[in-house]
Amino acid sequence: MAKFLPLKEAVAQNLKDGDTAAFEGFTHLIPTAAAHEAIRQGFRDLTLVRMTPDLVYDQMIGMGLARKAVFSYAGNPGVGLLRRLRDAVENGFPHPLEIEEHSHAAMANAYEAGAAGLPCAIFRGYRGAGLAEVNPNIRSVTCPFTGEKLAAVPAVRPDVTFIHAQKADRKGNVLVEGIVGIQKEAVLAAKRAVVTVEEVVDDFDDLHPNLCVLPAWTVHTISVVPGGSHPSYTHGYYARDNAAYLEWDEIAADRERFREWMQKNVMEKTAEDFAGRVEHLRKAA
């Protein structure tokens, strides 16, 4: 059953060195506050999983938290490359980063299989694609009815998944709405799940029955962090800070500038600072 904790305790209780961790979000609802808390607490040797690692993965990798990254698109969405990730892959800085690379279809199916308790996912994919030759976790099964060869990938089963969502009710049920991405699967596939939310409401009685609600007993810890997905956005609360994504491209281009920015904007800050960062974006939501 979900318990409500300050983010600092939520991260400390649920993440540990060496974990396989997913901080999921598909452009929308990226759990930035949780990732920053993980950086402040200085975890090491993490295997970081995400379909679309973006700024927060660039930051965690640049700060040396990650041993390995599992992903399908490692870019700054709409802007370009992830320069800290590149530095790790190309130059081993701050230390070498192992990568396991998939397509979106493979990762989406792998999370789905994880949520469904299966050991693997099958799908029609990777035909003629180079990844199938460099990633030993891309295999195949043969359909026992048609003989068609289908791609197979292992299920993703993170030790812990972090997501950001609109709101929880007092019982700890969680609502995710808008672009729901892969978040439900990422939570259900994980051994533990931590959700940061914009707010807590009394109950969900007025919600449409078919919305994406994670029952309280599927979530381990909930932390209230208004603005917690900035510079990503929260549908219904505040808009995406596109300028921050553009700016990141410059910050991450230089090791020193990156370090300084992280020191000033992450290491010396707390989860409480996120609310102020989205003030000017609320009208636009």
């Binding site: 598909f26 969405p77 490359l81 994919g125 035909r127 694609a129 672009i179 729901v180 994406c212 960062r277």
Partner: protein, 261 residues
């Protein structure tokens, strides 16, 4: 007739290839602009799908990312990402998959993964995202990119997504039953695959472009169709629609520029 840039011509030529009945899997950048120009001009009922799960979107401004809020707000429905890849892409419902490329070869094979060796890359690019399956599950693939010798190469460093492979019936030999790349639109020309060899062949030059310019900006020896057409210049409506869209987009994205400390 206004003057126009090669990039505008590229986007508008791509928009013309789309019809009201198409269901497009849209990537960010030129594909997104082309699809939305089509929607705002001759194809108002075209279905635009972004891989974030938004089906039937009609954004007022171009999204910076594939998951911008407006895509969801204007969509007919927004579905989870696993459903997007299973029911909608793999389910064979996408007529046109739109891809860009860091490196492209003459058979429409695309690299957006690495420059250099995969395990010791010179440049680590973002990777394929949805492309490996967009390339094989969409009925057809349209490619847009600005021409350059670095981009259009004899041999790509990595097969992020499969086009026509080594050409001919290579797709068929792999059991892939979709058409693959059927159109390449650059800032200089319109290319289509040869019926037999599947090599991309220039079929139309944009206004003011020449065979020489096309060859100078392409890393392989270019084939030209016997009867080479000239791409009609953008109409006033097309150009106004594209420029208005880009102006709205610029204003919107700059609107969030003020930052908290």
């Amino acid at each position: 007739m206004s003057t126009f840039t090669p990039n505008e011509m590229m986007t508008i030529a791509a928009s013309r290839a789309l019809t009201n009945d198409d269901v497009c899997f849209v990537g960010i950048g030129a594909p997104s602009a082309a699809c939305n120009v089509a929607r705002l001009t001759h194809a108002p009922d075209i279905t635009l799908i972004y891989e974030s799960g938004t089906i039937g979107t009609a954004p007022e401004v171009l999204p910076l990312s594939i998951g911008d809020g407006e895509l969801c707000e204007t969509a007919v429905t927004t579905v989870p990402v696993p459903e997007m890849f299973r029911y909608w892409l793999q389910g064979g419902r996408i007529t046109i998959g739109f891809l860009g490329a860091a490196q492209l070869d003459r058979f429409g094979n695309i690299n957006t993964t690495v420059i250099g060796d995969y395990f010791h890359p010179k440049t680590r690019l973002p990777g394929g995202g949805g492309a490996p399956e967009i390339a094989t599950s969409s009925h057809q693939v349209y490619i847009t990119m600005a021409q350059s010798k670095r981009g259009m190469v004899e041999k790509i460093d990595f097969f992020t997504s499969f086009g026509h492979g080594e050409g001919g019936d290579h797709r068929k030999r792999l059991g892939i039953d979709t058409a693959g790349p059927t159109l390449l639109i650059t800032d200089l020309a319109i290319w289509k695959p040869d019926a037999v060899t599947k090599e991309f062949t220039v079929v139309s030059l944009h206004p003011g472009m020449t065979r020489e310019k096309v060859q100078e900006t392409c890393g392989w020896t270019v084939k030209f169709a016997e009867r080479l057409e000239e791409t009609p210049a953008p109409t006033e409506l097309e150009l106004t629609t594209l420029r208005d869209l880009q102006a709205r987009t610029k204003a919107s994205h700059e609107g969030t520029v003020k930052r908290a400390a």
